[in-house]
Amino acid sequence: MSVKTIATQRASMNIPTGRLAVWWVLVSEIVIFGGVLVSYIMHRLGHPEWGEQAAYTNMWLGAFNTLVLLSSSLSAVLAHQAAEQGNGAKAARLLYLTILGGLTFLIVKSFEWTHEIREGFTLQAGGFWSYYYTAAGLHAFHVIAGMCVIAWVANSARKNQELHRVENVGIYWHFVDIVWIFLFPLLYIAK
């Protein structure tokens, strides 16, 4: 399966095919998250009492997670730089660091959720909590998917293969970050 089609290697638009595809993936993802967030915002505006529920979320843990996720994007950028210089081993190490950031994010998140569910704020506890778990859960699903893909890319980068993919997973990872930057104020800060 290593034989590449001629189509894959062409670049009529002078953009590498993989990068072009990642951008289109992001376009389709933006509207998925857009649908959830716009629905949430419209309902939140119609239900001021949801603010009291939002007050139970832990803003400081959320802020910590924001910091962790943004930092993990830094290592993804450095990995891209290393890949540009042809240093696959270094790129792989930096990508593993990014995965570590994602893992930290998920661990903190699971502590938060365990605490909230014990307090009785489950998925069924009301409109705010339904959106809270759905939106953050959809995001967490993307974090997990991103970590899997990054692990796969890092594995080939370690052997100096397919180094252009380092940039592509980086673009995806930044997108996952940006979604969180929207989620954090909407779900944690707005009271």
């Binding site: 034989v3 089609t5 894959t8 095919t17 595809a21 998925i32 069924q124 409109g127 339904s130 759905t134």
Partner: protein, 567 residues
């Protein structure tokens, strides 16, 4: 970049010759095989959906009768039949055949490349699609039967098991639809990137055939509109199974939210399936009118304008759903505006025909019928787009007739134009013209007899969601009954004529006269490959020197000028 663009393009020796049947046809990454997988799955689903239409139309015309090959239709079965007929025809017939089938077959061949840019993602796309079809079929056999809440799945009917009485069927329906969306997102990314980035050397964006343009714009529309509904489907699944209340007003939700998410996708979806059919028709009419496409660039700009506008019309489906009348005004205006680019496209097609030397081959008949029948659908849409008139027409058979006058030309007439036109390329054999024409007239005439009575029934106030009209004295008068019987009989006649097509298809595939490379004397690149094209499509990849519609150029011996012919 430079070394990519100028690398000599030679095929590595393929090891596919000795591949076994399973690898060759079910695990293939070849775009042509995947196209056929999509087409055959779509045609199989179309047969199921056609049978469903026959069953519920018999119940409507002859309430309570023992329908041959089915039996008595219970109210629950009736609901499941109409729901699944609609869902299948939109999501498992029009989408896979027009967008995925023709998209997969035509984009690499028309752009002059050997395959899609991501062949394995392409294969995955079909596999997810097949899974979604299997889940839908399985949903008819679970306790309670298939989902019966209409193909639009409005909550609370779709969200609450004790209302729709099909708790398992409805969850499986939502899952199947969501998976189908994922399959087409993967396919769409492939289409867009292939057409953008893998065109033959010399082929500029404005040298690409309209079919490619339209499939790409359709994929873009799909990509930009389906996201909110994927999110909405997840929320509906949660409402059904996990006890959330996204669509439940008693718990802070809103059932209208689903309608917005559904139609924000649902209206662009009309253009997602319309545009590939328009593209197919453009290829057919230029070839058989032996004329240059009138206003090639105008068509493209019009398509883009349609695409942009299609995102601002969705609430015209919700005029009676309790939306603000001021908002209804806005959506009336946008809806009437979107008919302008569509009308413009039809005029451009008619102008292409004007003065051409027209050949009435079977594909050409289908293409001309597409324009004529779709115009009826488009014109009646203006009545429904005006909020005042829509309050009167809403939920009557007028809507059903209008909808079928747009969708039938797309999903059936457009598809048949494409299949009869590219059959020689796909299978390497010619179809029988006489049988093709018998099938054409046997389909088109009954089609009009099915749906024209529905316009009149709708004007008389016939509601569209009634299982047995004998319970409604106003609707059970002899005139209405005769109208219902007319359309049901016409439907049966039309369905029977499809066996002519089926016979022609299978017979020509096995016994038809061998097709040469370019039987229609066409310009586009797919006709320069062998019929059928081998794996990899060309031994030497083509180079492009001109646009796709250089027919009847003065001063040339032949009336066509292939895109890859050196000047």
């Amino acid at each position: 970049m430079a070394e990519i663009a100028h690398a000599p393009e030679h095929h590595p020796p393929h090891g596919h010759a000795e591949a076994n049947w399973f690898i060759k046809y079910l695990w293939s990454t070849d775009h042509k095989v995947i196209a056929l997988q999509y087409m055959f799955t779509g045609m199989f689903m179309a047969m199921i959906a056609g049978f469903m239409a026959y069953v519920f139309r018999m119940q409507i015309a002859y309430p309570g009768m023992n329908v041959p090959f089915f039996g008595r239709v219970s109210p629950g079965a009736y609901n499941a039949l109409i729901t699944n007929h609609g869902s299948i025809m939109v999501f498992w017939v029009a989408m896979p055949v027009l967008l995925a089938g023709f998209g997969n077959f035509l984009i690499p061949l028309m752009c002059g490349c050997d395959d899609m840019v991501f062949p394995r993602i392409n294969r995955l796309s079909y596999q997810i699609f097949l899974l979604s079809a299997l889940i839908l079929i399985a949903s008819w056999f679970v306790p309670g039967g298939g989902f019966g809440g209409a193909w639009t799945a409005y909550p609370p009917l779709s969200a609450v098991g004790k209302y729709n009485l099909t708790p398992m069927g409805s969850s499986m329906w939502v899952t199947a639809v969501a998976l189908e969306f994922v399959a087409f997102l993967l396919g769409g990314i492939n289409f867009i990137v292939t057409a953008m980035n893998a065109r033959a050397p010399g082929m500029r964006a404005f040298d690409t055939p309209l079919a490619v343009w339209m499939i790409v714009v359709a994929s873009l529309l799909f990509m930009a509109s389906v996201g909110p509904l994927i999110a909405g489907a997840v929320m509906l699944l949660f409402d059904q199974n996990l006890g959330t209340g996204f669509y439940n007003p008693a718990r802070g939700g809103d059932p209208i939210l689903w309608q917005h998410l559904f139609w924000f996708f649902g209206h662009p979806e009309v253009y997602v399936v319309l545009l590939p059919a328009m593209g197919i028709v453009a290829e057919v009419i230029t070839v058989f009118a032996r004329k240059k496409m009138f206003g090639y660039k105008t068509v493209i700009y019009t398509v883009v304008a349609t695409g942009v506008l299609s995102f601002f019309v969705w609430a015209h489906h919700q005029f009676v759903a309790g939306i603000d009348p001021r908002m209804a005004n806005v959506f009336t205006v946008t809806t009437v505006i979107i008919s302008i680019p569509i009308a413009e496209m039809c005029f451009l097609y008619i102008a292409t025909l004007y003065g051409g030397s027209i050949r009435f081959t079977t594909p050409m008949l289908w293409a001309l019928a597409f324009i004529a029948e779709f115009l009826i659908g488009g014109v009646t849409g203006i009545y429904l787009g005006a909020s005042g008139a829509d309050i009167f027409f809403h939920d009557t058979y007028f809507v059903v007739a209008h909808f079928h006058y747009t969708f039938y030309p797309i999903a059936i007439i457009g598809t048949l134009a494409g299949i009869t036109f590219w059959f020689p390329k796909i299978f390497g054999r010619m179809m029988n013209e006489t049988l093709g024409k018998i099938h054409f007239w046997g389909t088109i005439i009954p089609f009009n007899f099915i749906f024209i009575p529905m316009f009149f029934l709708g004007l008389e106030g016939e509601h569209r969601r009634i299982y047995d009209y004998t319970n409604f004295p106003d609707l059970a008068n002899p005139w209405a009954v005769s109208m219902r019987i007319t359309s049901t009989v016409a439907l049966v006649v039309m369905l029977l004529f499809q066996f002519v097509f089926l016979f022609n298809f299978i017979y020509s595939w096995i016994r038809g006269p061998k097709a040469e490379k370019n039987p229609w004397r066409s310009n586009t690149l797919e006709w320069t490959a062998d019929s059928p094209p081998p794996h990899g499509n060309w031994r030497e990849m083509p180079t492009v020197y001109r646009g796709p519609y250089e027919y009847a150029t003065p001063g040339r011996d032949t009336d066509y000028w292939p895109q890859d012919e050196r000047a």
